[in-house]
């Protein structure tokens, strides 16, 4: 089965690999650009990357899986990262983390059943004087209370609903 979007995705990846392959140490920049473009690094892209960089598929797989940042599957519409490092722990991030799991109904490294949210741990966002810190998509938020977290989740859900309404209209 080959939907037009899958084809477009393959073209996009081929283009990224072709433009970056000659830079020194090209693998991480290629993986970043692919993930930025399609949301994750699809397993079926690895053979092509390996060929272009004259690496084995195992080597590319090894790099993708070494780094926490790279995902091998499509994340939820909204990625929520909760800092779990010491500075945030000292101001209640563990309670916030437990609250996040409860509110979203999924654990860390998981995506909600409706595909809305992916919950991820992060070890320091550099907001250590303004913890607990959370990153929602590209939005950084400091001093996140449980109520503030609920408001952030609601804002995400509302944004999704608005988008759905737009698509229907």
């Amino acid at each position: 089965m080959s939907s037009p979007t899958a084809e477009a995705r393959r073209d996009r990846i081929a283009h990224i690999v072709a433009t970056r392959r000659d830079m020194p140490g090209a693998l991480l920049p290629i993986l970043h650009e692919i993930q930025d473009a399609v949301g994750y690094v699809p397993a079926d892209a690895l053979p092509e990357i390996a060929r272009a960089l004259n690496l084995s598929r195992a080597e590319v797989h090894g790099v993708v899986t070494f780094y926490h940042h790279f995902r091998d599957s499509k994340p939820g519409r909204h990625v929520i990262q909760v800092c779990r490092a010491e500075a945030c722990q000292s101001v209640g991030s563990e309670a916030l983390a437990a609250h996040a799991e409860r509110v979203l109904g999924c654990g860390f490294h998981e995506t909600t059943a409706d595909g809305e949210f992916t919950l991820e741990p992060v070890y320091c966002l550099g907001q250590c004087a303004c913890g607990p810190a959370v990153m929602v998509g590209e939005q950084l938020v400091g001093r996140v209370t449980l109520q503030r977290f609920d408001a952030l989740v609601k804002a995400c859900a509302d944004a999704s609903q608005d988008r759905a309404a737009e698509v229907q209209a």
Binding site: G25, Y67, H68, A85, A87, G126, C130
Partner: protein, 517 residues
């Protein structure tokens, strides 16, 4: 007449809502017909006051904070554009005690200038160091850095000048300058502030390093958790390039230096210099055995200067003012200043740059003003996740590399995380092992396996299962990790664990330290 209003674009200010405040000010000014020039400066580093809004008045800059969008109309009503009185008014910014007592050398421009204004930068002593360096030969530049006493600010505190001398001596047509901006330690944000708030300073420092050792290409390796820093650096590099401060002919000198930002991918261990080099080369961030030193065989096998952001960012000032100026600050073998970062459960968290020798107590009481929760401080962790937990009895220790090393602690990158009396130190020790298990590169056994076993044994202690016996086992394990690991990841994870055991045995269900039992 146009009034200049400053609203920071530092990511901590953004995390506290600075963009909304900036928009509210622009909207309110337009509605009232006031002419306001909005400057998005860096942060002054007083994060409990963010978003901190400043207004340039005839009497200098005055501050208001923390400002929310809802406060903006009232600020206009109070005449804040002329420095009017308001509940959020803090007076002249430079007179705020938290700032006034500091010795800001590296952070002299922080929060004062527009980070992307080259004119601002140059008007505040920017590029004075590089201008002087262009008239010196490599050996003279290196001597200046060596004489300043500057030591690596990433945490290892190795003399920067000696590292540079090794690269200068290495014979190779290709050399590199690499900036380690993988600031993964919790409780630290000084690198982030430099990249977001004064990026030209880092660019200038790296360019001087390139001139010193004959390197023509530099890489800044920034962690992916810092998207704002990456964007600011890329913008600043473009501006410096267009103005001839980077490129094939730096300000007509015929000297060449190019810079590139490389993005990390969420691996803490890539803050270790050899793992970082592997990562730039496109490999797994696995630590290399040393020797060879990166100074001899570094990036792509070539001689490489690899320094932390703050080390490189301090070089322009050393060149501009001279080694003696910088060396006159500090104590013992710790020369100059360190930008300390007061973080965690603290009332006034932020950036405090002071000469070495200031005590933890001064930082936490005079600057930090105690805990945010209002409870008593029980413990502080200095130097990131691999740093020791210090009980309050250590608060009078001067901040000095050797003074900390004397009792098995480290200053590291200058981050201080405060915990109040609700902290459970057995949990913190467990976390140290867990973090090592998550982030170990896997190359050596004590780190890769030891950390997992460490979590398991501490879990037994927490469950009350033969605590005395298991504490002894944890100490044995720590001894193996300390002596048998290739890098600081496995080799220093025992610091927080052992310091928790030594300082707080009661949290582990053992009345006295097991060592003495």
């Amino acid at each position: 007449m146009s009034v200049t209003v400053f609203v920071p674009r530092d990511s901590s200010a953004l995390a506290m809502g600075a963009d909304d405040v900036a928009r509210a000010i622009a909207r309110e000014a337009a509605a009232r017909g006031a002419t306001v020039e909005l400057v998005r400066n860096g942060s002054r580093g007083m994060f409990w006051l963010e978003p901190l809004v400043e207004v340039r008045t005839a009497a200098g800059r005055v501050a208001y904070g923390p400002v929310t969008p809802d406060d903006v109309a009232a600020l206009f009503d109070a005449g804040f554009l002329a420095g009017g009185a308001h509940a959020l008014a803090l007076g002249p910014t430079g007179e705020i005690p938290f700032l006034k007592g500091q010795e800001r050398l590296t952070f002299a421009r922080m929060g004062i200038t527009d980070p992307l204004s080259l004119n601002d930068y140059i008007a505040h002593e920017g590029y004075a160091g590089l201008t002087r360096a262009l008239a010196l030969d490599g050996a003279q530049i290196v001597r200046e850095v060596t004489d300043s006493g500057l030591r690596g600010r990433g945490g290892a505190a190795f003399p920067t000048g000696i590292k540079w001398q090794t690269v200068l001596n290495a014979q190779s047509p290709t050399k590199y300058v690499v900036c380690n901006a993988d600031e993964g330690d919790s409780g630290t944000f000084s690198d982030r502030m430099v990249m977001e708030g004064d990026p030209f300073m880092l660019i200038e420092g790296m360019t001087i390093a390139g001139l010193a050792v004959g390197a023509q290409h530099g890489y800044i390796y920034v962690r992916s958790e810092y998207p704002h820093a990456i964007a600011m650096l890329e913008a600043a590099i473009g501006i410096a390039h267009a103005a001839g401060w980077l490129g094939d002919d730096i300000r007509g000198s015929g000297r060449r230096f190019r810079l590139e930002v490389r993005k990390g991918a969420g691996a803490y261990v890539c803050g270790e210099e050899t793992a970082l080099l592997e990562s730039i080369e496109g490999k797994r961030g696995v630590v290399r055995a040393k020797p060879p030193l990166p100074a001899i065989e570094g990036l792509f096998g070539q001689p490489t200067i690899i320094n932390n952001v703050i080390s490189l960012a301090t070089v322009p000032l050393i060149l501009a003012r001279g080694a003696q100026f910088y060396r006159d600050y500090g104590m013992g073998r710790s020369r100059g200043t360190l930008p300390f970062q007061i973080a965690g459960n603290v009332r006034q968290g932020g950036l405090v740059e002071k000469a070495f020798g200031v005590t933890l107590r001064e930082l936490l009481e005079d600057y930090g003003q105690g805990t945010r929760s209002g409870r008593a401080i029980r413990v502080v962790q200095v130097g990131g996740p691999l740093g020791a937990y210090l009980p309050v009895s250590r608060l009078d220790t001067p901040m000095d590399y050797e003074a900390f090393a004397a009792f098995g602690a480290v200053l590291g990158h200058g981050g201080i995380v405060v915990f109040d009396d609700t902290v459970d130190m057995a949990k913190q020790a467990r976390y140290a092992m867990e973090f090592c298990a998550i982030e170990s590169c896997g190359k050596c056994t004590p780190c890769r396996i030891g950390s997992t076993r460490g979590v398991e044994v501490i879990d037994k202690i927490i469950a009350g299962d033969q605590p005395v016996r298991h504490v002894k086992l944890v100490r044995d394990l720590c001894d193996t990790m300390l002596g048998g690991s290739l890098c600081a990841m496995g080799g220093m994870t025992p610091y927080p664990v052992l310091s928790a055991l030594d300082g707080f045995p009661e949290d582990f269900g053992v009345a006295v330290p097991a060592k003495a039992a």
